[in-house]
Assembly symmetry: C2
Homo-oligomer: 396 residues x 2
C-alpha cells in the first residue's frame, strides 16, 4: 500500500490523498460503505460501482461467524467470494465484540472481582489473552485473540486490515480508559507481530477514551511499536477508535481534532464508525482522511433520507401526495425516476424496493458529498463549502 498527499488545503487541515492498493487506487478523503457480511445491504455490487464506491468495508466478526473465514479463503478470498474487484478494508472484530456487549444490562454485569482488569459485558468477556464471546447467530462460544483476528483477516484477504484493539466504552473513568488503552497497546503489538502477508496494509487504532493525554500517549507508543516492526511490518495508517460510541458530539469533535493534529502526516488517518454528513465535513477539516458508517444504509432501511437541507423521514403524511423527487438537486437513480409519494408508499408497505431505492439515494448522497468536498479542497474553497453546507441545514 502506498499513500501520497496530493494537496494540502490552504486553510484548515483538510487534504487530498491517494492510497494505492492491490485492488486499485482510493482517493481520499473517502467514505467507505459498510458491507457487514459481505454485502452492502440492499445493494448489488454493480450498484456500488455506479454510485462511485471506491472501497467497501467487511466485518471480521460477522464474516468469521458466517460463512466463516476458512470457507472464504478457499473461495479465493473475500474479493472473489463477493465478486468485488476493488479495494476492501476489514475491521478487526474488536468493535463488534464490544458493541454486541453494549446494552443496558451489560453495564450492570458484575466485574470479575478477582481480576479488576477483566471486563465482563453481556456477550463478551475480555481477558488479557483475548475476548471470549457468544455468537449472536447461534449462541456458540468463541475466543478471539489478536493473533486470531489477524489470521482471520489474512484469510479474508482485504487490502487494508485493522489491528485488534480493546474498544474503550463510553463512559469510562480515566483508570478504565488507561487499562483499556494499555491492553490495546499490547494487543496491537501482538497484531503487528502476527501479520504475515505483505500484500495487506495493517492500520493501528488509537484508543484512550475521551482523555487527550491518553490519546497522545497511545499514539506515541503505537508509533514506537510500529517503528520497531520496521518496513512492511510498520503500521501503514492510523485510526481513531472508540469515538462516536455515545459521547456528546462536541466532545467527539474535540478529541478527533486534537488526535488528528498528532497523527503522522504521511499516513492515512481513519476515523472509525463516523458518521453523519455534518461529522464528515467537520472531521475532514481536522485533516482526517477515511470514514465508514452504517448510517446511510441503515437509515435508508428505516426510511430516513439525506438531503442538502437535512434528513427527511419519508413516512411523513406530507409526502403522501408529493409527486416531486426526494431531492430535486440529486442525480441518483431514485431521484431521477421516482416520486416522494411512491417512496413513501413503498416504505409504508414495507416493500424491499423501499430499502433498495432509499439505500441508493443515501449512499449517493454520502459519496457525492465526499466528491464535492474533494473538489472544494482542490479548488481551495473548502472553507466556503463548509460554511454553505451548514447554512443550508440551518435554514430549515
Amino acid at each position: 500500500m502506498k499513500f501520497s498527499i496530493k494537496k494540502q488545503g490552504k486553510t484548515g487541515f483538510a487534504r487530498l490523498g491517494e492510497i494505492s492498493t492491490p485492488h486499485g487506487i482510493i482517493q481520499t478523503p473517502v467514505f467507505m460503505p459498510v458491507g457487514t457480511v459481505g454485502t452492502v445491504k440492499a445493494l448489488r455490487q454493480d450498484d456500488l460501482k455506479t454510485l462511485g464506491a471506491e472501497i467497501i468495508l467487511g466485518n471480521t466478526y460477522h464474516l468469521y461467524l458466517r460463512p466463516g473465514h476458512e470457507l472464504i479463503k478457499r473461495r479465493g478470498g473475500l474479493h472473489k467470494f463477493i465478486s468485488w474487484d476493488y479495494p476492501i478494508l476489514t475491521d478487526s472484530g474488536g468493535f463488534q465484540v464490544f458493541s454486541l456487549g453494549r446494552n443496558p444490562q451489560s453495564r450492570q454485569v458484575p466485574r470479575d472481582e478477582a481480576n479488576p482488569a477483566t471486563r465482563n459485558t453481556k456477550l463478551a468477556r475480555i481477558t488479557e489473552e483475548g475476548v471470549e464471546f457468544q455468537s449472536h447467530v447461534d449462541g456458540s462460544k468463541h475466543f478471539m485473540r489478536p493473533e486470531d483476528s489477524i489470521a482471520i483477516q489474512e484469510a479474508l484477504g482485504a487490502d487494508i486490515i485493522m489491528a485488534f484493539d480493546d474498544c474503550t466504552p463510553y463512559p469510562a473513568t480515566k483508570e478504565e480508559a488507561r487499562t483499556s488503552m494499555e491492553r490495546t497497546l499490547r494487543w496491537e503489538e501482538r497484531s503487528l507481530k502476527a501479520k504475515t502477508r505483505e500484500d495487506q496494509a495493517l492500520f493501528a487504532i488509537v484508543q484512550g477514551g475521551l482523555y487527550p493525554e491518553l490519546r497522545k500517549e497511545c499514539l506515541e507508543r503505537l508509533m514506537e511499536i510500529g517503528s520497531r516492526g520496521g518496513g512492511c511490518h510498520d503500521f501503514s495508517g492510523y485510526a481513531l477508535g472508540g469515538l462516536s460510541v455515545g459521547e456528546p458530539i462536541p466532545q467527539m469533535y474535540e478529541l478527533a481534532e486534537y488526535s488528528a493534529s498528532l497523527l503522522p502526516k504521511d499516513k492515512p488517518r481513519y476515523l472509525m464508525g463516523v458518521g453523519t454528513p455534518e461529522d464528515l465535513v467537520t472531521c475532514i477539516d481536522f485533516g482526517l482522511d477515511m470514514f465508514d458508517c452504517v448510517m446511510p444504509t441503515r437509515n435508508a432501511r428505516n426510511g430516513t433520507l439525506f438531503t442538502e437541507t437535512g434528513s427527511v423521514a419519508i413516512k411523513q403524511a406530507q409526502f403522501a401526495e408529493d409527486d416531486g423527487p426526494l431531492d430535486a438537486q440529486c442525480s441518483c437513480l431514485t431521484c431521477r425516476n421516482y416520486s416522494r409519494a411512491y417512496l413513501r408508499h413503498l416504505h409504508m408497505s414495507k416493500e424491499i424496493l423501499s430499502s433498495i431505492l432509499s439505500s441508493i439515494h443515501n449512499l449517493h448522497y454520502y459519496l457525492n458529498l465526499i466528491k464535492k468536498i474533494r473538489l472544494a479542497i482542490q479548488d481551495d474553497h473548502f472553507d466556503q463549502f463548509k460554511k454553505e453546507f451548514f447554512n443550508k441545514r440551518n435554514q430549515l
Copy 2:
C-alpha cells in the same frame, strides 16, 4: 386495444400474437410479473426493463387498500405513480377476496342458513350485491361490488382490466360451482356495464370449477353478454379463473385444455395465476396466450431458484463451497457475476441482496423461457422444444 395473431403453430395450438395497448405492444405468449402493491418485489423498474418484462400486473385489492386508488388517480394513475411507462394489467380484486378468505378455518365457517347462496369465508362475506371483507392491513371493513372494482381499476388506469368475478373455490360441488358461476355471470355483466373508459380493455373471466359443461356454459353466456355490449363495450379478451387453486395438476391441465379449445380465437386467452415453468410450456401448447404468477419472485425470496433441470433450494449444504454460477447457461446478472456459494451465504444470512439476486435470476428464467418458446413457435419446432424441455427435467 388490438390483438392480432402473427402465427398459428403447425402442431398443437400454440400461437404467436401481438397486443397493442396505449402503453406499447405486448408479444404473446407473455408472462406478466406480479407487482402486487405497485412493485414487483425486490426489483426496480429499470431491472424489469432490462429483464424484458413487457407488461406487469397490479393487484386492485392491495392498491385499493394501500395507498388507495383515489390517491393513485390524483398522481396521474398507476403508470405514473410507480414510474412504469409500459403496459399494466390489473386484476379485479375478486381473487384476493377469495384467497385471503381461503385458509383452514374458513372452510369450517358456517354458511348463512337463511340464504344458501351467501358464502362466508374467514375474511370475506359474499352476497349478491358484492363482497364484504376486512382489510388484512388494518382490519377495517370494506364492501366491493363489481361497479366498485371497475371504478377502482379505472382510477388506477391499467391498459387491461378484469371483470369482477366470484372465484369458485376448490373443492366445490357442482351445485356450488353453478351458484358461483351464475353469480360470476351477473357480476361480469355489471362490470361491463360499469365500464366508462374507452382506453382500457376489459377481459372477462370464465368460472365453472372443474366442471367442463359449466365452463362451456359460462363462456358461451359471457360471449353473449359481451356481444350485447357491442363494440368497445365487448370483452377484449377471455381469462380462465379459479384454476391452480389447489386442484390436482392433471385436472387443471384437462380443464385448461378443454376451455382453451372453446375460447374465441381472435382474442387473447389468459390463464390467471399460472404457474410453474412446466405449466407455461404445457398450457401454451393448449393455445393460451397470457400468464401471471408470483412464483418466480416469491420462490426467489424463499431461496428456490429455477434452472433448466428443475428448481434448486439454494440453502442446501452442497452449495456452500460451490464457486460456479447457479446456472452456467444463464446470462442473467446474477449468474454472470455471483457464485452459488455467495448466493447461499446471502440466503442463510437473510440478506436483502439474496432476494434481489434471486428475483433477477428467477424472473430472467421465466421471461427467457417465454422468449425461447416464442422462437420455437416461430420456427415450427415447439413440439421438439417441449419434448426437450421435459427431458431435461426428467434427467435429474
